[in-house]
Subunit: 346 residues, 2 copies
């Protein structure tokens, strides 16, 4: 089958690799219908050292079950399924507590053992916990893009809003106009936020954010951006800040604009380990810092219903679709910001 | 009047200074009945550079109203009052949101303008918001020590537990066996925690922690301490960690033992600005970091009732009482850990 491999920064290739097979009785094999490139894939695309042992790429997938292991009980060949971006048993103590990304028996795609999901087929470990069936939808549905976003991007935005405890009457600021930031706008609106300030400078993107509920757009960054948000909030700051970038300047903006007693919720994978959290940044104003890799499995069923009902249309983050042979161009287009998010069709 | 002044590390003196007077119509003058030395007073006691402009010390006070400004409506001379460790109007938007330590018109004691509370008299700004009357108690009551703790130490421990969202069924670990840590144990028990692990190595202190509800005591620190807590929690970690120290090793322990999806709540004033918060510390396991200077005003009335009803006895953190002339010895005794917390009587 064809699969996407990264050999180093800027070097993404499609190669023929062996088809995956059932390794454990809890596995399933899925034929990919849709996959996509994630903003987080761009981090290694910028920084990965060259290697002769390339990294299998991709962790977002909508597909059809081909084969299940002997221990799989909830899936049948032919089921249309969404794969959350991490795999999990969905039964361990941490899964029960809603932190499926920390599943005791789970893990992340993109290892030599499990492979990546930007490929024609995938082996899904812990398939009963790691695949969610979409009822009454087939491969020709117009809803496939929106369903695909439940694999990661929309529900990552949702996780930010959920952990930030967004509710009616709160002012929410979203930092970042990438696909996750825009998803966070949509999710914040779903959770009742009326005032949503979107910090971003790409008009085509912030326009979608406005359609999804952003009430203000702030193009300025750094100290200017902080001053603008403080001005918009009457000098008080934002109750909730959803940080959907992962770089230090975004975090610095976050603690600059969060209100006393407010919450910063991060879902951009931090490209730093140490950062300010002392009296002058978080502690002095009783700001809460939360967030992490989204346990999208926890939010999946109601979100599927919202897509099927037409209540949300998160698939609009995809502004380009290509076949797997063109995946290198998809990475390049997202890296140059020519594309917001690229879908792979199979 | 006599007041406590710090001239530099290790140099605390009692000196005669002018009696405070009403400066603004919202002020009150209070005659001190009880005050005390705070663990946070020991930070400058260790590190403050020598100065000829000494810092007035103290921010915890139980006293009797002597005089009120023309705009003060809720207080009368003779009222027995508790002063929260920060002053506030208790009406601004942040006060209404329960973050009185960020009051738009508030501030902290210990400045040349406002003075400190380890003194015979005090000028209390924004007196209507900054003093809470204790009904039906006089200066001879046995409850004075417990009431004094509501000025800071007990309600700071309570703030940690409240922000950590302690509730029934949660495992809570308290880092630090100082007066705030022990108060956090007592507060966690009040909020329903059944399993409370207290990390501390001073048996006289941890014994009080056990009386107040700690179910396990861990004397080990650092990696050993982390391993011990992980072992006690079946390898899962603690739902909630209350960090009542403020030094980096305590924070490192906190993220080492917090469970995926758990909360670290800090009330020890951080003696650092930057610290790990990336994938390897907080983000990867969706840990939440919260806490800050306790808005004790928000918690005052129900806590006064609990003291008056005999439900809590937080005054047991005081293991020594001296007059103001001996305040230098009080600092020294706490610094050497000969005393847990010293009360000043007037």
């Amino acid at each position: 089958m064809k699969a996407t491999l990264m050999y180093g920064a800027g070097d993404v290739r499609v190669e023929n690799v062996p088809d995956p097979t059932i390794v454990r009785p809890t596995d399933a094999i899925v034929r990919t219908v849709r996959a996509c490139v994630c903003g987080s894939d761009l981090h290694p695309y910028h920084s990965m050292a060259h290697t002769d042992h390339p990294k299998p790429m991709g962790h977002e997938l909508l597909g059809v079950v081909e084969e299940v292991g002997a221990a799989v009980t909830s899936l049948r060949p032919g089921d249309l399924v969404i794969a959350p971006f991490a795999w999990q048993d969905n039964t361990c103590v941490f899964c029960q507590e809603g932190v499926q990304t920390s599943c005791l028996h789970g893990g992340f795609y993109g290892t030599p053992e499990v492979g990546g999901l930007q490929a024609e087929f995938a082996r899904i470990p812990q398939a009963d916990g790691s695949l969610v069936v979409v009822p009454d939808v087939d491969e020709t549905s117009d809803l496939l893009p929106s369903l695909l976003t439940l694999s990661d991007v929309y529900l990552t935005g949702y996780h930010a809003a959920h952990m930030g405890r967004v509710s009616a009457g709160k002012t929410v600021t979203v930092i970042g106009d990438g696909a996750v930031g825009l998803s966070a706008v949509l999710a914040a609106r779903q959770l009742g936020a009326e005032r949503i300030i979107l910090m971003g400078r790409h008009t085509a993107r912030t326009d979608l954010g406005v359609e999804w509920g952003a009430t203000d757009v702030v193009a300025e960054r750094g100290e200017e951006g902080i001053a603008r948000v403080m001005d918009l909030t009457g000098g008080e700051g934002s109750h909730i800040v959803l940080e959907a970038v992962g770089h230090m300047p975004a975090y610095e903006q976050a603690y600059g604009i969060v209100r006393p007693g407010g919450v910063i919720s991060r879902v951009g994978v931090p490209q730093y380990e140490k950062a300010p959290i002392g009296f002058g940044s978080l502690f002095g104003k009783n700001a809460t810092l939360t967030g992490g890799p989204a346990p999208v499995r926890a939010y999946m069923e109601p979100a599927i219903q919202q897509v099927l009902n037409g209540e949300i249309d998160p698939g609009r983050v995809f502004d380009r679709a290509v076949g797997i042979d063109e995946v290198a161009g998809a990475y390049a287009a997202m890296d140059k910001r020519e594309a917001l998010k690229v879908m792979l069709t199979f």
